[in-house]
Amino acid sequence: MDPLLLGALVAIFTVVVLFSGVSVALGLLIVSAGFLIVFDGMRSLELMPEILFGKLNNFALLSIPMFIIMGASIASTRAGADLYEALERWLTRVPGGLVISNLGACALFAAMSGSSPATCAAIGKMGIPEMRKRGFPDGVAAGSIAAGGTLGILIPPSVTMIVYGIATETSIGRLFLAGVIPGLLLVALFMAWSLYSTWRSGDAAALTARSYSWRERVEILPRVLPFLAIILGVLYAMYGGIATPSETAAVGALLCLVIAMVIYRLWNPADLWAVLRDSTKESVMILFIIAAAGVFSYMLSSLFITQSIAEWIGTLDVNRWVLMGAINVFLLIAGFFLPPVAVILMAAPILLPIITSAGFDPIWFAVVLTINMEIGLISPPVGLNLYVINGIAPDIKLKTILVGSLPFVGCMVLAIVLLCLFPGLATWLPDLVMGPRI
């Protein structure tokens, strides 16, 4: 059978199987096994456990559970609230200081957590009630945290960037740096929108904040120190000649666990177990998808589908920006339904040769792809962050959260456009720190 036709068949079956409600990882294995049996013979099945093990046999994957532990241990303490409160006390004179503090706290927390829901939960628990109390519209309160939380996978460290780096063999250190400036750009866009919409809605009272004495401001500073210690410690380990990026994750995890236990008194075995349990649960889920996606991409490659699609797109002779637009639409749709890790693992082997031959930079593309995945996290039907907010603030209607988040989707689309116009936003910092690309 023609590999392209076969590819279409695989796509249809994958959608049908995944929508049946089976778990994503098992669904990928089921589709792979089906096509391997029919088109490659029963013998291919023998290889599945071997490939499963082989895909996990990679030191860089260690950093996934490590960065998840970082986020989970700090999120289980009141550190997020401290961070947010400190920012609030210092930014009180700034118009709309509260929403700015929240988004700033999301960005800082994102700099420690590799996952978006963790960021969302840590800041939102304190931030959303506070914003609502002070008269911000529910939509802005919920939407800004939902959107700010998505920064977890753009601002380093980022689990999705690690997965992209492994799938495409690009430097993880470089990918991390590439996310910094676009991350700050998104924070700025989010802040601008929040302020504008609050002002427009007539809740101007919310923009004039309460005032704090200098004593109150100084008092809170020590409580931000653990954060600075963690972020500086990780940065120093990663770029200061102590450890490779994958090893750094373990330093971060240990640092966060120790700080949570010593400073935030996370002594209770039940609480500690809760942190480890949640981290284990999320890590195993992600790692199993990675392993299953490995079998899936073996199937695609073995049936020559990956190679044929890349060849076919190469012969299409379309404008490279039309191509990039089409890729973005594809990623967006996939992101609506699937977790970022699954999208990256299924799409990267097919998309990477296409985008590099069209003259796009894989590091830059990682950032575009990540922002696409961020959109998926706050858009229907299965935006993970929307449900996290729903869990924190059950009395805000899901629809209000959704509508409040939509303008932030607009900010993200704008950021993608800006990245297309100025690719240097992503590539300048990694080139500056790590030297020109190899």
Binding site: L47, E50, G241, T244, Y298
Partner: protein
Amino acid sequence: ADLRLSHQWSDNDVRHKVAQIVADEVAAADVDLDIRIFPTESLFKAREQYTPLSRGQLDMTVLPLSYAGGQQPAYNLTLMPGLVKNHDHAARLNDSPFMDAIEQKMAEDDVMVLVHGYLAGGFAATDGCITKPEDMAGLQTRAAGKSFEQMLAGAGASIASMASSEIYSAMQSGVLDAVNTSSSSFVSYRIYEQVACYTPPGDYALWFMYQPLLMNKSTFDGLDEAQQQALMAAAEKAQAFYLKEAKKEDAESRRVFSEAGVEIADMTAEDFAAWQELAKETSYKAFVEETPGGQELLDMALSVE
């Protein structure tokens, strides 16, 4: 018939070109044999090719044989310090009783060689040159291969294990002081931007890695006469190309490093002897201990002039 060939390199690598020559020649022979190449680990990961090859789930591969040293300890001799002195010596090894013994081991796993070939490599360090064992003392280093790790540890170096793709940033940030790998990796990972001195393979070199094009034996036996002959003829042509290109790569790495302003150091006959002495105490000894019949194999290899 359709055959699948898997390897780990990109399509401008010499090892891909060797595979491509075999595929092209066989196609030109018009014997109803089609070789489909899967480069850059697009089918199997580098170290996970030997098992499917030996079980007939993969037909052909280009592979550093020592990757399978955990399954056949004898293969560790194909990446052993000081065993091969230069490319012409390597070519003589391919026709020796030593290689016959190695091929016998492969036959146990239902594997056979189509194209023999060795690639060489050297040392690079962030300060100072590495030509003799004393130069390694106290350095954090990453070596390519178990036997080299054993020897360099014996020279007083500290061994850090990491993927070759991490070498560049590890040298940049100071995690690594010295590295030992192949000429082509030195160039493709742009290590010359991070080091002060390079010891390329020349008249004397320590690091030679046997990287043949292998085929599943049962699959080969299942082909008809004309197909087998076409494959052997293609392999012969590819082998000549492989030897020529391997020499070229060493020269190329020397040129690239010196043009980048890196100091070039050469190993002398005495240096080579000192390394070999050290290897006898460390890697050779460990090899003989863990390999049944290891001493005999080692002697066979050392006896090739």
